[in-house]
């Protein structure tokens, strides 16, 4: 072990451990239907990781299992296996594997899958979450923050905006469970979220603000759909937020010390 304990797979394992309480609660209430979707998602994502290992010598990652869990939990219901396989293949390949594998992707593969399914098959309904799954998302976030793989600043930024909205009476009822699950599963992903301190606050706040905006202004939108769309835009904006944070830091440094 010459490179230390923290490599990519350690992070992926800790992510799985953090998501375990939420995933188990969801499986408990979802029954065999949920189990079947999870198994299918795991199988398809695993197969694509295998294909890219054989074709491009890219090491497969346990992060494929994280993405599969997110897809199984959030995908529109009653899609049938064929559409689900199409969506997961698209998301896994175009969202992650063509970039060189987990760690080099710009957008979470599950976000790509869910957006693809949402825009491709708009007729299907999005899932709702029972309160226990929402409560189980909180220990998941806590474990993630305690082990350092999920960003506390990001969660705090999102919570701040949610609290402000609640204080002003702008919080849409029924939005919280889906928005929290998406925040923990997709937005807080260590690869595709912002990587600087200020950037993380902004990233979380942007996600929460976009979710609220979509939930109030997008007609007949399901909570999960609004949250996934916000997650996609927040992930795309993350590099810009990092760039902003670094530019501000450079400007402050230049003011204090003269030349950079």
């Amino acid at each position: 072990m010459t490179r230390g304990l923290w490599d990519r797979e350690t992070v992926a394992l800790l992510l799985i451990a953090a998501y375990a309480p939420m995933a188990l609660t969801w499986l408990w209430y979802g029954g065999t239907g949920a189990l079947g979707r999870l198994a299918l998602a795991l199988l398809v994502a695993g197969l694509w990781h295998l294909v890219f290992m054989l074709a491009r010598a890219q090491p497969p990652s346990l992060a494929g299992a994280v993405a599969a869990l997110a897809v199984a939990m959030l995908a529109p219901e009653d899609l049938g296996p064929l559409r689900l396989i199409l969506g997961i293949s698209f998301g896994t390949v175009m969202g992650e594997l063509v970039f060189g594998g987990w760690g080099r992707n710009v957008v979470h593969p599950a976000t790509v899958t869910l957006s693809f399914l949402g825009f491709g098959f708009p007729a299907f309904g999005w899932p709702d979450f029972v309160p226990p799954v929402f409560w189980a998302a909180l220990p998941a976030a806590l474990i993630g923050m305690a082990t350092g793989i999920l960003s506390g600043a990001l969660m705090a930024g999102a919570a701040l905006v949610a609290a402000l909205a609640w204080a002003n009476g702008a919080l849409v009822p029924g939005l919280m469970p889906a928005a929290t699950v998406v925040l923990v599963l997709l937005v807080a992903d260590p690869v595709t979220s912002a990587a600087t301190g200020l950037g993380r606050w902004l990233n979380g706040a942007l996600y929460a603000a976009l979710t609220l905006l979509f939930a109030t202004r997008w007609e007949a939108v399901a909570p999960a759909q609004a949250a996934v769309a916000a997650a996609l835009l927040a992930a795309l904006a993350a590099p810009l937020l990092d760039e902003t944070a670094i530019a501000l830091w450079l400007a402050r440094r230049r003011r204090r010390h003269g030349r950079p």
Partner: protein, 221 residues
Amino acid sequence: MARRPDLLDTLSAPLLRQNPVTLQILGICSALAVTTSLATALTMAVSLTVVLTLAAGVISAIRAHIPETIRLIVQIVIIASLVIVIDQVLQAWFAEISRALSVFVGLITTNCLVLGRTEAYARFHAPLPAMVDAFGNGLGYSLVLIVIGALRELFGKGELMGIEVLPLASSGGWYTPLSLMLLAPSAFFLLGGLVWAIRSWRPEQVEAPEFVPPARTEPAE
């Protein structure tokens, strides 16, 4: 370049080996915009091929008389005149498709593919090879447009040229159309996939990497 370039080679090179869209990534804007159905893609492909071939012929015929300093203006005037003719023809005989194509026929004037071929090839070659080269490039562009247009119409609406191919679930069939295919992002995905497929098949088209990852100094675990 050889004194007398091989015409067959000039014609066939832009189809796959030097395809203007997938290798040089030219003319993307219109290629993405007009491919929601095969009919519009086909019309656009024919219009561009005609304009490109005629413009190359005209510019090549007067290439010795165009002053170097105003050559772009002269080329654009010639191309724009041809585009207006084509646009009028489409409006006269294919009014519906002309409305579907909206401004994109007019925008052939500024299509970088047209200007690229006249600027890079027709200016230095006799009319016949210039027109053959332009026709080949037009065909290469058409090939990409037709492939993407056919895929988008087939999977987005279950039709080809307006004729039902995949029976839709809404009218008793089995196919649920993939609405994403009719939105702009799908054209990007399909074009990207096409470029990927062609470059996997012909690795000599792959660009050199911009960055080289540093070599690992310590031994792998």
